[in-house]
């Protein structure tokens, strides 16, 4: 039956849910978010121990033979607790790229929790376009020399390696001519300017100034990096939509609790019909976002190509728009309390806002969805 979870998937989901419920209270989350690195190495070790880091990788690569669906279920559950660990960046996107490039050598360390990754898929002038790459990789002796600037590289401050698309041929926005490089984060010529982000994540501007890369630094084929990057980002986008669904579930249930308990004019806020109907709409948005996110990870699990991209873009456009609506309404219904940093709801709102533009905002994905249309009404 469509959408039915396997027993393994159910167990996985329950195990992450339990972890979030028991060990990831909002006060703990706040402490982690405000710590030096912004996330917990201890939790990361637990993730490794419970096998969550290896779940989406083929068994041949030391993983547990799951895929986007399992990563999505984990991310959804983590999203409910607003977990700050860089699962998306290291496991889903970074690990996804390593797996696609056949770098099982590094996956082992990743699955063991010993490796952090960041991917510089954005550049200052490029907005959300993966093909807009001005960073150059030019021949210099037997090696290549990479120079350019990567914008808002998430998890870069914690990363051991940076995965960096650079141009080995073609003009700035050509799809061909992009090559992916795996660079040690402490390589000569790599300069990071780290900062916190709106949702308590960590990121950095990365400036590359003549960073030397040998042939072993190349992931996938020379000039054909986009063929690796685009499907990996599609899957990461689908998984991120699952996280959005988790965040929205929390936004809805916290708001539901709040208006049930908060009294005004002697009655609970939830007795006002306007708020009842608005929450009904939030509930529908949440349910449908979850449907779309699940669809997108299932398509992602089935392989690559146009249908995966279309599913990811449809889900992201949907999650972006509906997530915004649900987030804004959740704050509105919390009234003044919703405006405070202290109240968890505001952190959920900031996360759903951040998700809104990650890998492209709703406009970008609507456009992409329409561009990819082939046979009309599908």
């Amino acid at each position: 039956m469509p959408f039915a979870l396997t027993d393994e998937q159910k167990l996985l989901q329950e195990s992450v849910d339990r972890f979030v419920e028991r060990d990831y209270g909002f006060d703990i989350r706040t402490r982690l978010a405000e710590s030096e690195t912004g996330w917990s190495a201890e939790n990361w070790a637990i993730f490794a121990e419970l096998g969550w880091l290896g779940v989406p990788f083929p068994e041949a690569a030391g993983g547990h033979g799951g895929g986007p669906v399992e990563a999505g279920l984990i991310s959804e559950a983590l999203g409910k607790g607003l977990a700050v660990e860089p699962y998306l960046w290291t496991v889903v996107l970074g690990g996804g790229l390593l797996a696609r490039a056949g770098r099982t050598d590094l996956l082992e360390a990743l699955i063991a929790g010993k490796l952090q990754l960041a991917t510089g898929f954005a550049e200052p002038q490029g907005r959300y376009a993966l093909n807009d790459v001005a960073t150059m990789a030019e021949k210099s002796g037997g090696d290549l020399s990479i120079s350019g600037r990567k914008a808002v590289v998430f998890n870069a401050p914690s990363a051991d390696f940076l995965i960096v698309p650079a141009r080995t041929a073609g003009a700035r926005t050509d799809a061909r001519g992009i090559t992916l490089f795996l660079l040690p984060a402490d390589a000569d010529g790599v300069e990071l300017r780290p900062y916190r982000t709106m949702d308590d994540s960590r990121a950095a501007e990365a400036t590359l100034s003549g960073v030397r890369a040998g042939g072993d630094a190349v992931l996938g084929e020379i000039d054909d990096g986009l063929a690796l990057l685009e499907p990996a980002v599609d899957v990461a986008t689908a998984v991120l939509c699952c996280e959005a669904a988790g965040v929205m579930q929390a936004l809805v249930s916290q708001t539901q609790d709040y208006i049930k308990n908060r009294k005004q004019f002697g009655v609970p806020l939830s007795s006002f019909q306007v708020l009842q109907h608005r929450m009904a709409e939030m509930f529908i948005h949440m349910e449908q976002t979850q449907s779309m996110a699940y669809m997108a990870v299932v398509r992602g699990a089935a392989g690559g190509g146009r249908e995966v991209s279309r599913a990811a873009s449809a889900a992201k456009a949907y999650a972006g728009e509906k997530g915004k609506l649900v987030g804004q309404d959740a704050i509105q219904m919390h009234g003044g309390m919703g405006m405070t940093k202290e109240m968890p709801i505001s952190s959920y709102f900031k996360r759903i806002t951040a998700i809104g533009s990650l890998f492209g905002d709703a406009d970008y994905h609507l456009d992409r969805f329409a561009d990819l249309a082939g046979g009309g009404a599908g």
Binding site: F3, A4, S271, H277, Q288, S291, A314, A370
Partner: protein
């Protein structure tokens, strides 16, 4: 987790498609595609064709002449018939009074009515709403006074779809007005040929005739035509509200409309280029397509849960709200696509066999009438406000 319906269901889908291909009369298909008027014969004709194939009562168990389909098969049947331009089967017999008789009827009632519903020999209509009752169904005033073996019925029903085509009507009537309003209601089956019944058409804003007023003036109904116990009709009314609601998603029909929209937008011009290439209109179509995907995926989740034994709950309200919004949105975009040619009101062009050249493009004449007509979808069948109230109560616990 996957999206596969499995090879058996896939084979079933192929079978349904092939059957439609072969059996749907071409003039009916043509009317449906072009939005022309259907006759009663078109609708009943299609029902009889299905019946001849054993599919006359898609949602029913074998014992009553149904095919005993799984929830997934029912969904597939709804989708394929909708998408491939089959007329809707009238729900009043198949989805309403039929299941009621199956659940609450006497053996005699079952024997008398069920076969004729499945075979489309008898057409039904629904006597629920009254002037003044609206969403507050239980406030109904039509009275049935017992006189020996007969009820004498007086009152008025309204918004009665297809009453002018129906042979029988099922009614909620008040049999006791001394108790709480829900507790004095009974459920009667009434032959429309009984003296004292008058049907008056209600013309809707686009000029169509689908709904009616039905007047009862001393109408004699045998007590044996009551379903269930006297004064227990409200239980039946509630049973019906929960019954087989996933078909309201209208996925198949909306897919067909989306396809039509894409075709028309490719044919229409804006600044000398196809409207389909206009960034704004293209975005609107993309958005509608995504909304349709979201609805379809949610529906599939609901059908899967039903297949696993879950009772359909407030998801029906979710589906009803979003499905009707989508139908309205598509009809709005279709009207928008044709610019000034939405203005001419040429009902004659909606008659099959009308041979004059059309005023605008040949797909234009039905689009504004359909837009106007579909405003009903968010009003009828439990208004979307009522549905939001249900979600708020059943899911959110307010």
């Amino acid at each position: 987790m996957d999206l596969d319906i499995g090879s058996e269901d896939q084979a079933f889908r192929d079978e349904v498609r092939a059957f439609i291909d072969k059996s749907l009369p071409s003039d009916t298909r043509d009317k449906m595609r072009r939005g022309l008027k259907l006759t009663k014969d078109d609708m009943i004709g299609w029902h009889r064709i299905l019946h001849a194939n054993g599919w006359g009562a898609p949602g029913w168990p074998v014992e009553y002449g149904g095919p005993d389909w799984t929830p997934m098969q029912r969904h597939i049947f709804e989708e394929e018939t909708g998408r491939n331009h089959c007329p809707r089967l009238m729900p009043f017999g198949l989805k309403m009074v039929g299941p009621v008789i199956q659940a609450f009827g006497s053996d005699e009632q079952k024997a008398q009515h069920l076969p004729k519903i499945a075979s489309a020999e008898i057409q039904w209509c629904q006597g629920y709403s009254e002037p003044g009752s609206g969403s507050d169904l239980a406030s109904l005033k039509t009275r049935a006074v017992r006189d020996g073996d007969t009820y004498i019925v007086n009152g008025q029903k309204t918004w009665t779809t297809a009453a002018h085509w129906a042979d029988w009507i099922f009614c909620l009537v008040r049999t006791d007005d001394t108790v709480k309003k829900q507790e004095g209601i009974s459920f009667l089956l009434i032959d429309m040929a009984t003296p004292g019944i008058e049907v008056k058409p209600i013309v809707t804003m686009e000029g169509g005739h689908e709904v009616n007023e039905v007047f009862f003036d001393d109408v004699a109904v045998p007590v044996s035509n009551r379903v269930g116990a006297e004064n227990k009709g409200w239980t039946i009314a509630k049973f019906l509200l929960g019954h087989e609601r996933t078909s309201i998603a209208e996925i198949g029909r909306s897919k067909a409309q989306l396809e039509k929209l894409t075709e028309i937008a490719a044919a229409e011009q804006k600044n000398g280029a196809p409207l389909l290439d206009d960034p704004r209109f293209r975005e609107k179509i993309a958005r509608a397509e995504i909304d349709l995907m979201a609805l379809e995926m949610t529906l599939l989740r609901v059908v899967s849960a039903e297949s696993a034994g879950g009772a359909p709950g407030p998801e029906a309200s979710l589906l009803k709200i979003r499905a009707t919004e989508l139908q309205q949105e598509l009809s709005e975009l279709l009207m928008e696509a044709i610019g000034y040619y939405s203005h001419p009101d040429t009902p004659e062009a909606l008659e099959f066999g009308w041979n004059e050249p059309s005023v605008g493009p040949d797909y234009a004449a039905s689009l504004a009438p359909v837009y106007f007509n579909l405003r009903k979808t968010s009003i009828y069948g439990g208004s979307n406000e009522v549905q939001r109230g249900i979600i708020s109560k059943m899911v959110l616990g307010f």
